[in-house]
């Protein structure tokens, strides 16, 4: 039997996938320099 990459309910995996896509999509809208300022100055 092939190794499974997830042992969770496929519906929950689907929701998680959608949220990950949403998060990645959102980063595309963020001013790129905001991210670099955060990193350079450890601004959090």
């Amino acid at each position: 039997m092939a190794t499974q990459s997830s042992k969770a309910n496929p519906f929950l995996v689907g929701v998680l996938f959608v949220l990950c896509v949403a998060a990645i999509t959102l980063t595309l809208f963020i001013t790129p320099d905001s991210l670099s300022v955060n990193l350079v100055y450890q601004a959090f």
């Binding site: 997830s6 042992k7 969770a8 929950l12 929701v15 963020i30 001013t31 320099d33």
Partner: protein, 357 residues
């Protein structure tokens, strides 16, 4: 292979974490945002004068005669103490001149600072320096994630496009965890002396051009007729308003700034701070004809062409007035003394109805 998601509980936990982070700006707005007077001191001092702005807006009381709002160009370009001193002498009473700024340019930032200040103070006149070519792109200010919070000032963002609102929401998601800390404890206390130093950016006072040696230069500018400092419409020969136009996002905020000035019935004017790259120019370069963009056709623009400002300065010495595109103290005092008569004349005209002398 070890599974990426090893149980339903693991999946639910990951979903909760991601969903909470993505919706945190909205959740905080529903629960109740931390006080706005903690927003600016959350900005690291290495990246701007946030704590100084916060002090000016929320701690200092009383009316202000002139409020300057702008970028670091303005902080390094205008000696506020000198303007205040001259205005006091002219009015025959102690005058109050305040200024607000954050590093990097952006009209969303300038709108927000102006909005917060006008909500807490009576202001006689607002002066602003408008974006130069240093403003690259058309997205929220680099520090927007610090002071843009979901649900605040909804009217001001109502007219933005979906993409622009997503950009703001992205910034809010980025900043929400830091805002969350404000529920638990106030921001660290910053030493008042350090706050004042942040406000003046005095570390650049005696710095030479791009790391070169600092050379003390004369700080008395040539006599410049006051009326020549004011723009006289889009075709003014001393100004060039045909620069690179701002994108829709920042033009939107320019219009909001105009509306804000009208809402508070506060006279609004703009001032151009010369950058090093303007050396030798006979006209003041502006990206757009601002009175039209902000929606106040009568709003004056004050500016002095670099060639006029430095007409008595040998070309090889002009750079001694800058440390990069910003003025060092040579330039700051030189320019302030040149522009102040026009600022005072404008104040007299806008606030007291006197004509320019």
């Amino acid at each position: 292979m070890f599974p990426a998601i090893w149980s339903n509980r693991h999946a639910v936990a990951l979903i909760l974490v991601l969903a909470t982070l993505l919706t945190l700006p909205i959740l905080m707005s529903v629960v109740g945002l931390p006080p706005r007077d903690r927003v600016y001191s959350g900005i690291r001092v290495e990246t701007g004068m946030g704590p100084f702005d916060e002090k000016q807006i929320f701690e200092e009381k009383g009316p202000v005669d002139i409020l300057f709002v702008g970028s670091s160009l303005m902080v390094r370009g205008v000696d506020m103490n000198y303007v205040q001193q001259q205005l006091s002498a002219k009015l025959g009473r102690p005058a109050k001149v305040s200024y607000l700024s954050l590093k990097w340019q952006g009209l969303d930032m300038q709108y927000m600072l102006m909005h917060d200040f006008l909500a807490h103070h009576k202001v006689g006149m607002v002066m602003m320096d408008m974006p130069t070519l240093a403003l690259i792109g058309d997205s929220p200010h680099i520090q927007a994630y610090r002071w843009m919070r979901w649900g605040e000032f909804p009217v001001s963002t109502a007219g933005l496009s979906f993409r622009q609102r997503m950009a703001i929401y992205g910034a809010e998601v980025l900043g929400a965890p830091r805002q969350l800390v404000n529920y638990i404890r106030p921001n660290r206390l910053v030493d008042p002396q350090q706050v004042q130093k942040l406000g003046s950016q005095s570390e650049y006072a005696s710095v030479g051009y791009y790391g070169g040696p600092f050379v003390e230069e004369p700080r008395t500018p040539p006599a410049i007729p006051v009326e020549s400092i004011f723009s006289r419409g889009e075709a003014d020969e001393n100004f060039d308003f045909k620069g690179l136009p701002l994108g829709p996002y920042h033009q939107y905020w320019a219009r909001q700034i105009g509306l804000l000035a009208q809402q508070y019935h506060v006279p609004f004017a703009m001032v151009h701070i010369p950058e090093d790259t303007e050396k030798g120019m006979n006209r003041v370069p502006e990206r757009m004809y601002w009175p039209e963009v902000i929606g106040i056709p009568s709003a004056p623009i004050l500016g002095i062409p670099s060639a006029t400002l430095f007409r008595d300065t040998p070309a090889s010495e002009v750079q001694n007035y800058y440390y990069d595109q910003h003025f060092n103290d040579n330039g700051k005092e030189f320019f302030t003394r040149a522009i102040t008569p026009a600022v005072l004349a404008l104040y007299a005209r806008e606030v007291h109805g006197n004509t320019i002398q």
